[in-house]
Amino acid sequence: MQHIVIVGATSTIARECALIWAKRPETSLHLVGRDDERLLAVRSDLLVRFPEVLISTHTVDFLDARAIDTLVSEIGQSVGIDKALVAHGFMPDQLAAQADLSLLKETLEVSGVSPILFAESFAKHFFASDSGTLGVISSVADVRGRRKNYIYGSTKAMISYYLAGLAHRAFGTSVKIISLKPGPTATPMTGHLPNRGLAKASKVAAGIVEAMDGPTGVVFLPKIWRLITLIIGLLPTRVFNRLNL
């Protein structure tokens, strides 16, 4: 039996991943979220589609380091985790977060600190058994600070930086660390934007699931974002600052 833990399981992209994993034989899903009702709704949805799948749900305070660590080790001890996906994130309205420091703080915590707390806890578990795959959803928004989205972007930059370090640590072990970088994707997070140009969450999820079967690495979803972020990263600051991004 493969045991897969999904943190932020109510997110659209995570749900799409769960739909793919649930199709696999001998797979058991462990869903982690902050709200019991929403988690159970995700579970029910999966069970109507796949009545056979084994699914557990767990709620935890996403900013409580000790509670997170306890939960991860409980799941780890009871079943042995094969894969963990950390998917939650929060993108505020940039102007609102500039104006309101508590919204800024919430963003930094929910989108930056919290995923790293989960990741480090899974890492501890995986390195101890020298096995397991950890995937964390960062974003292409990490590439460069830009006026329209630097607060959310900085949380993702922190995650990417952190994951690079974790991947380094995993070198020479059997633990796999996957840094997942979707481009703009059609989910409630982007629900206020025009639909055009947004990737489908199901496609992004297919890429995530595939990447989490593979080796340590950084994965852009869709792939074209590797090139786009490379170019954006190479633009001289003088040029970049003139762009309305």
Partner: protein, 427 residues
């Protein structure tokens, strides 16, 4: 702000689009909001320019399924396609679906949609067990034909104006398989259409294509029953798309004549009996994504009427004559005789009679003038127009043909308004 068009592409106005979530406070004192599904309504039922549009498509979870009774409970933003894709392989189907699978359950309720099985299974609400409505003041109302039935029948066909439908309980139908045993019959004129239609009452599904170019009213009558037989051919799950909107309509008097001649001939040569996959039979247009773009930048209208049985033949003949003379209209012309069941929705559309649905490229004044002429035929025949398709009917016409408007108005949600409600109800 995001520009939003409905299926007819007649307008493209700014909307404050927000992903719907149940925790959000819907009420916003100054700005009115409206729930939107997949924007498959042709006109302005699903539009609220400069206002808030709650996008419900992320409200798409399945809640429960009872495999003994076939009762499915879902969140209202799920598409009929998702339901069909999941349940048809398990031997269950929605008994009533419109000509496209790309509509949400909420949208299907809000227009009380009908399909090719109307004469057998009624409209969408005839297979709807209950629904949950969220009002902008935060109140939740669960209703069914038994409980809170007044809310149920106001919301069914209520074009989104009574609140946001958040979930629904649907009765699925056991089916022998995904294929239909079909027959295609040609008819040279409307007299024969009505004859075949009468003879076909025992068929589960029927629909006709009609040639709106000639005056005769020739067409193809396509009827089908579910079967356990398995046909040949692969059903692809991805479909080609019309990539861009051409600057002018690709449908004009010339292309139309050629299209119609070809379509009629090809199909009358076809074997009369056959097997058709349910997707091909029920949703032929879903095979091409964004086909609505072929009408060009100015968009198009669909005109759909229903005429009561006693005047159906004469009025339909007169409408076809008027359309043919005007040299407007298009390839997509559909004729169907409804069954006896009348939608019980206060603003419901389907009911006994014959419905004609036709697309018209938007040519401005001349197209609108033609509609005025058609309106007077519909009015004097005691018929009415379908709100899911309408973008231009006058308030007078609406009031003359929908007798239960004042009853309906009592159930409106004061925080909700649409372009259609402002046009037809004044607010």
């Amino acid at each position: 702000m995001v520009k939003v068009s409905s299926w007819g592409l007649l307008t493209n106005d700014e909307h404050d689009v927000r992903p719907f979530s149940q925790d959000l406070k819907l009420h916003n004192s100054s700005v009115k909001s409206l729930a939107a599904g997949l924007e498959r309504s042709y006109g302005d039922a699903g539009l609220n320019p400069d206002g808030v549009l709650w996008s419900t498509t992320f409200l798409n979870k399945l809640i429960s399924f009872d495999p003994d009774l076939g009762v499915l409970t879902v969140e209202a933003g799920i598409s009929l396609k998702e339901i069909q894709d999941l349940f048809v392989p398990r031997g269950w189907s929605l008994p009533v679906t419109p000509g496209t699978e790309y509509v949400t359950v909420g949208g299907a309720i809000a227009n009380d949609v009908h399909g090719k099985s109307h004469h057998m299974y009624g409209s969408f609400s005839d297979n709807l067990i209950s629904l949950t409505l969220l009002r902008t003041d935060g109140e939740t109302i669960v209703s069914s034909p038994e409980d809170n039935s007044n809310w149920f029948w106001a919301t069914v066909g209520g074009i989104g104006l009574t609140g946001v439908i958040i979930s629904a309980q649907l009765q699925l139908q056991k089916i022998p398989g995904p294929w239909l045993a079909t027959e295609t019959l040609t008819f040279p004129n409307l007299t024969e259409f009505f004859e075949i239609s009468n003879e076909s009452a025992a068929w589960e599904n029927s629909v006709s294509w009609i040639d709106c170019v000639g005056v005769g009213g020739r067409g193809l009558f396509m009827r089908g029953n579910r079967t356990s037989e398995i046909g040949k051919g692969k059903i692809s799950h991805s479909s080609p798309s019309v990539p861009v909107t051409p600057p002018f309509s690709l449908v004009n008097a010339l292309t139309l004549r050629v299209f119609n001649e070809l379509y009629f001939r090809m199909n009358s040569l076809k074997k009369e009996k056959g097997l058709q996959h349910y997707k091909k039979y029920f949703y032929p247009l879903d095979g091409i994504q964004n086909w609505n773009r072929i009408y060009g930048k100015r968009g198009f209208y669909q005109y759909q009427s229903v005429i009561p049985p006693e005047s159906a033949k004469a009025a339909t003949e007169e409408m076809l004559k008027t359309i043919s003379k005007a040299k407007e209209g298009s390839f997509l012309a559909v004729l169907k005789t409804f069954g006896e069941r009348k939608s019980r929705g206060l603003l419901g559309f389907p009911g006994p009679g014959t419905t004609l649905a036709l697309d018209f490229p938007n040519r401005g004044e001349s197209t609108l003038k033609l509609f005025d002429r058609l309106d007077s035929i519909v009015l004097s025949a005691g018929g009415k127009l379908y709100l899911a398709k309408d973008a231009r009917m006058s308030r007078e016409m609406f009031e003359a043909t929908y007798p239960r408007i004042s009853e309906f108005s009592a159930f409106r949600d004061p925080g909700i308004s649409s372009a259609m409600s402002r046009r037809l109800l004044g607010s």
